[in-house]
Every structure is written in structure tokens, then in C-alpha cells.
Amino acid sequence: MFSKEKIVIAYTIEKCKSCEMERKRNFTEGDYLFAENSKCNSCEGVMQIDKIFGESIE
């Protein structure tokens, strides 16, 4: 009766191929799994998109 529509936010998890550091950010248009499109902040290695998922906020 009082159920509210949950808002789902899409997130992208990037993982560094060398130091395995993970970074979570909001999904942006053009992201897809296993794409390599940024550099790691800590080791200058290549970041690869490891996961894209939705999380709901109440």
C-alpha cells in the first residue's frame, strides 16, 4: 500500500590490472565491461571495468 518505487543508481567498478586497486564511480554512457579507459591513480597502471551494477537507494 505504501510501497515506494526504489531508485536504482548504476555504478561502474574499475580495477587496476597491475595493483588490483578498485575504484567505484557512477556509470557513464559508453562504459562496458572489460573496457580499458583510464589510468590507476596509485601505480599508473591500466584500469579495466570489472563490474557494472545497479544499487537501489530507499
Binding site: 536504482v8 548504476a10 562504459d31 562496458y32 565491461l33 572489460f34 563490474k51 551494477f53
Partner: protein, 374 residues
Amino acid sequence: MVDFTNIDLDQLFGFSDDSNPLMMLVWILPIILFVFYGQRIQLQVTSGEIKKAIKKLDAYRIEARTELIEHVKKNMNPREDPTKKIDRFLDYFTIMPVDMDPNGIVEKVRHIVRAREDYSRNHVKTISPETGELELTKIITLLEIATSLHMIFKIVNHMYLTAKKQNNYPLILPLQMILPFIMEEAEAITKAIPAFKSGQPIGDGIGPMVVGKMMLDTKKEKMAFQTVSSEKEFDGRKLILLKAEGPGSTVGRPGDAVETIVAKSKPDIIIMVDAALKMEGEDSAITAQGFGAAIGGIGTERFQIEEIATKNNIPILAIVIKQSIKEAITLMTKDIANQAETVRSQVYEMIHDNTKSGQSVLLIGVGNTIGVAQ
């Protein structure tokens, strides 16, 4: 003066007296009413609920159509207004082959379905021939969504109006029974639109996600239409990895690809990874292992894979990731995405336990590969 504090209800209504005419009316009138007008009353009550559902279905189909037209205008830059063409697509129907003689029916179904797919692809492309393959796959899926919702609305509305027209309550009963399932599916289909528009992986993409990562840094080869494969070594075994070509929205043609692979290098075992519908009460994102071809759809791909495996005596094992229909076609949930690594280790364990060194394994990631590369 009447003493209102001392009224005997038993005496007034004659509860204990069977001959009281007022009590007889109270009992007999509803009985007569329900005997002659019961079905009509039920029809009125039920049709109120169905009307609400039809209103929702109508809103879903309008939303899908509007989203599709806007997406086409924004991403295909058509020279002319595509609305008329899209409206024509929405009304296309498919006549399934006659099944009085089931012999060879799978071939016929496959032929009709593929002809429809090819026709839609070619005609959507005519809206703007410069459109890239990735965008085209997304638009075709959005078109399928809009067509499905359009068809669901038309069928439900037809069943409802027929029952109302004939004033026939039993005619509305089957609709009342299946309506919750139809609504669940229609809602899930509508909620799938944003994921397909933005190219995000969906729950059904867990199979391609598992196999896609294993295919990274290998040489990919086109095996069938929108289907790629590659080879790698694991623990002395040759792995032949197969999935739909991502990151577009497609399930590929795994049946054709399996046929080519088996003819070229007969694998000793086939392992299929796919999403499966969970049962009520089951947790989402749990995995299960079993036997047989784990692949959904209309059944033609499964038939083809089963036939090839049977002819060549190749066992088929399966790993499925359970999810609801909504989870399967909307943006992948965190729980499902987190299972990818677990499934990958289960695949390696399955290969290790069921094959010997020197043997070969065909691993198929089944499902829509939107947002999942390889």
C-alpha cells in the same frame, strides 16, 4: 412512551420465527439475486480490476513507443521522421508454422524467426544507413520491447472486451488468473528500457560476463552471426570459449557456432553458463549446477545444441545463476555481478573434475551480452 432501553431484537425481527416475512425477504432476496445475476456481479467486480491493469499496460506500451522514437531520433539522426515507420514495425506479427505434423517444425520455426530478425534489422537500418552495429543492436532490442508491450496490450484488451461484449463471466476467468503474471512480465519489460538505452549489462548477461573475462587477451574468431569464440589452455586442457559478440545487445547464434566448432574439433564436454529463473522463495543470485543445455529462448537453439551433442555423444553440463524475470532483463544487480568470480571458479573446478589432461572443453556463456565485451 416507548421504552427504547428494553427492545427485544428477537421479537422485533422474529429471528426465532421462520414465518416472519421480513426475515424471509432478507434471506431469499440475495439468493434470487445471486442465482440470476451472480455472474454479472462477478463480471463487474472483476472487470474493474482488469480495467485498471489494461490502463497500466496501455501506459507501458506508450512509454516504450515514445522512448524508442526519441532514442531513434537522438542516436540515428534520421533524415525523415521515423514515427510512421516505427508504428508500422509495432504491428508486425509472426505466424508460427502448422504443428499438426511436428516433423521438421524446429527448422520451420527457426527459419521464420530468423527471417523476421533479418527483416527487422535491414529495415531499421534503412532509417539511417550510417548507424553503427552497436547502436543498431540496441534499437532492435528496444523495438522488440515496444512490439512485445504493444502485443500484450492488444491481446489482454481483446480478451477483456470480448467478455464484456458477450456479458460472459467464464470468458474473463482465464484472463483474471493469468493477469498477475502478465503484469509482472510487462512491468519487467518496461523497466528494461533504460538499461538497453544506455548499454548497461543486464542480469541475463552473467553468462557472457563469466566467459567474456576468460576470453580477454585471446584471439577472437567469428563463429556464427554475432557470435565469437577463442581458445586458451587451462590445466593441460584446451578450452574453446564461446559467447555472443559484445558489447552490443545480442544473444548471438550459439547453435550454429556449436555446429561449426564440433565439426572442426570435437570437444569432450560442453559446459553452459546461463541465467535461470529462480523459484518463489529462492534467493536471488544463487548458483546451481546440473545437466543438459542451459539456454532459454524459443527453443530452436537448445534443440540444435542438444541434437549435435547427442549425435556426437558429448555430455552437456550447466551452471545457472538464479534470478527473477525482472532481474534478468534489467540492469545487473550487485549480488549477481559479485557472483561472476564464484561462477568462474566453479567452471574451472567443473572442468578439472570432469575432464582429463589433453581433453578439450567447449564453454558457452549464454545470454544477452549488452554491455559485456570479450
